[in-house]
């Protein structure tokens, strides 16, 4: 294991982490397992591509496009699906199945939009090149992944700890009924959370598309299993758990590829799920919830 591999683990963990934090935020607050999150991920990358490669705008416009797409999709998911189901008293499983339906629709839309082809960014439209440091080589995309993830997670943590809205959100995680009694507008909290979580997911999609210079409608597919694995690893709905789970998963993947072989890579998430279920089923950092006290 050398410095390069540690670096690979770091940026892969940050990528998975950004994706998983969005997913777990939605899970913990809105109590929805949003299986359409991988599709939001894909659309984040697609939106950025459409804006940068098709409309030839500068890179930062692509970032904004990804963010905006994530937010809009999040709003649509919450208002068109999660809220109606919540009103009808649907349980977690039913909402998850509904989100699978949304996943299908969004992926189908992505397929139509791309014609099922692999899209690339034109050379120079996004920062490229290599940064050669002692012991490792890094691309701007990989550094951006690390930078973006760490700064957004820091911002999110500060927001949740210090701001009034953040405290309201954390109250709703513990018990939405009690939060509502205390005057928290729970519906607004749900909507805001799904929007923010989806924005994070879309952003992670853009970052992946940038780092591999490839965008296609199936790019979110491997993240379905990995998202599930990180949720099990970290604890359902736990944001710090998402980060820890992402780190564990990324480290396991890289280590197994280095020491065993690349074919084993896709089996790692599954192995992680089985392991955590046998050793610590509630996850590494489970959240505090009224049902779990």
């Amino acid at each position: 294991m050398n410095g390069q591999q540690f670096f690979n683990i770091l940026w892969l963990a940050c990528l998975y982490g950004l994706f998983a934090v969005g997913l777990n935020l939605i899970m913990g607050v809105a109590r929805v397992l949003n299986l359409a999150h991988p599709a939001v991920f894909t659309w984040g990358a697609l939106a950025a591509w459409l804006v940068i490669a098709d409309l030839h705008t500068p890179a930062w416009a692509g970032f904004l496009a990804a963010l905006a797409t994530g937010m809009v999709l999040g709003a649509v998911l919450e208002l068109a699906a999660f809220r109606p189901l919540r009103r009808r008293g649907a349980d977690e499983l039913t909402v998850a199945i509904a989100s699978i339906g949304l996943l299908t629709i969004l992926v189908g839309a992505a397929r139509s939009a791309t014609g099922a082809s692999f899209l690339t960014f034109a050379p120079g439209s996004l920062p490229e090149g290599r940064l050669v440091l002692p012991g490792l080589v890094a691309t701007p995309a990989e550094l951006a992944i690390i930078g973006v993830t760490l700064s957004l997670v820091l911002l999110l943590t500060l927001y949740l700890r210090r701001s009034a809205n953040g405290i309201a959100i954390r109250a709703a995680v513990y018990s939405d009924e009690v939060a509502a009694i205390n005057g928290v507008n729970v519906n607004r909290v749900y909507l805001a959370t799904v929007i923010v979580g989806s924005a994070l997911g879309a952003l992670s999609g853009l970052l992946l598309g940038w780092s591999f210079n490839s965008v296609n409608y199936q790019m979110g597919e491997p993240f379905i299993l990995r998202g599930i694995a990180i949720i099990f690893l970290g604890g359902f709905g736990s944001v710090p758990g998402a980060l820890v789970g992402a780190l564990v998963l990324a480290a396991s993947e890289v280590i197994s590829v280095v020491y065993i072989g690349s074919g084993i890579r896709e089996l790692v998430p599954f192995a992680m799920i089985v392991a955590i279920l046998l050793l610590r089923p509630q996850g590494l950092l489970p959240i505090a919830h009224e049902d779990r006290a």
Partner: protein, 289 residues
């Protein structure tokens, strides 16, 4: 005349595909009857398909033996899954079974003797009308009797409250494992029949698309009874064939159906009290049975 024969063959093939889809829906229904949603039917179907296909190709076994192999491997795999997921409930179980589907597909892609991504071809064409109709009848008889059995009442009790069921002395763990195994056998058999119908199987055929199709079938038809599974399987199997316009946008349609049915008709089509049943069934329901 040959045109007529061609269309007979085409409809026969369609009919067989529908029977297989219905079987998969029923396989999923069995675990629902026990109170958990398992989406692992595609995985057991794949296991049954590959094991029977390999047996047919390499050992030239008679078809009946191949089917037996499929049923056994499906049962063993299902038992394994049930044991691993023993402590999981509802959402967590569904996710676990999704993960299992992915793993089976991944293994099928990686392992050389399953043919990898290019699949397994040269499977003898053994499935014919006799086998398929026999299978359909066997399923119908099984479920008709199952729904009236004492076991089913245990499972219904378990579905409503595992705690209460356990306090009555019911072995909940055994029930969960056995329903999973039954589901695995049915799906495995469906896989073997499908493999020997097409002559070719590949890992992608058991992937996410199949999960969506089965899910749409049971949600649309209704998860409360085996009739719902059959109804859903029939609708999802037949309608795309006749509404050719929607086949290209099939994904949208399935996704939209899932979403809309869950919001507006959560119990599925089978819950609609439409005067579509036979007079005999209608009379029975009116009589309060």
């Amino acid at each position: 005349m040959s045109d007529l024969l061609d269309s007979v063959y085409a409809y026969q093939f369609l009919g067989f595909s529908v029977i297989i889809l219905v079987a998969l829906a029923l396989s999923t229904y069995v675990t629902i009857a026990a109170g958990s949603l398992s989406l692992a039917a595609p995985a057991f179907m794949a296991i049954g398909a590959y094991s029977s296909a390999l047996a047919s190709i390499h050992w030239h076994v008679p078809f009946a033996i191949a089917l037996l192999i499929a049923a056994l491997t499906g049962a063993v795999a299902a038992a394994g899954v049930a044991v691993i997921s023993a402590r999981l409930r509802a959402l967590y179980l569904a996710l676990m079974t999704l993960a299992i589907d992915e793993i089976v597909v991944t293994v099928a892609l990686l392992v050389p003797f399953t043919g990898g991504a290019s699949g397994l071809s040269g499977i003898p064409f053994e499935t014919d009308a006799t086998w398929m109709i026999g299978f359909a009848i066997a399923l119908a008889v099984f479920f008709w009797r199952f729904a009236r059995s004492r076991t089913f009442r245990f499972l219904s009790a378990m579905r409503q409250s595992e705690l209460a069921a356990r306090s009555l002395g019911l072995d909940v763990y055994a029930a969960r494992v056995s329903t999973c195994v039954i589901g695995g056998v049915i799906a495995g058999l469906a896989g073997a029949l499908s493999a020997h119908l097409d002559g070719f199987i590949s890992p992608t055929g058991f992937g996410f698309d199949l999960i969506i199709t089965i899910l749409t079938a049971i949600v649309l038809g209704g998860m409360a009874s085996w009739h719902g599974a059959v109804l859903g399987g029939l609708v999802v199997g037949l309608v795309p064939h006749f509404l050719v316009a929607i086949s290209s946008v099939r994904e949208y349609v399935y996704g939209a159906i899932l979403l809309l049915v869950l919001i507006f008709l959560p119990r599925g089509l089978a819950s609609l009290r439409l005067p579509l049943r036979t007079p005999w069934a209608y009379a029975r329901s009116v009589a309060g049975r």
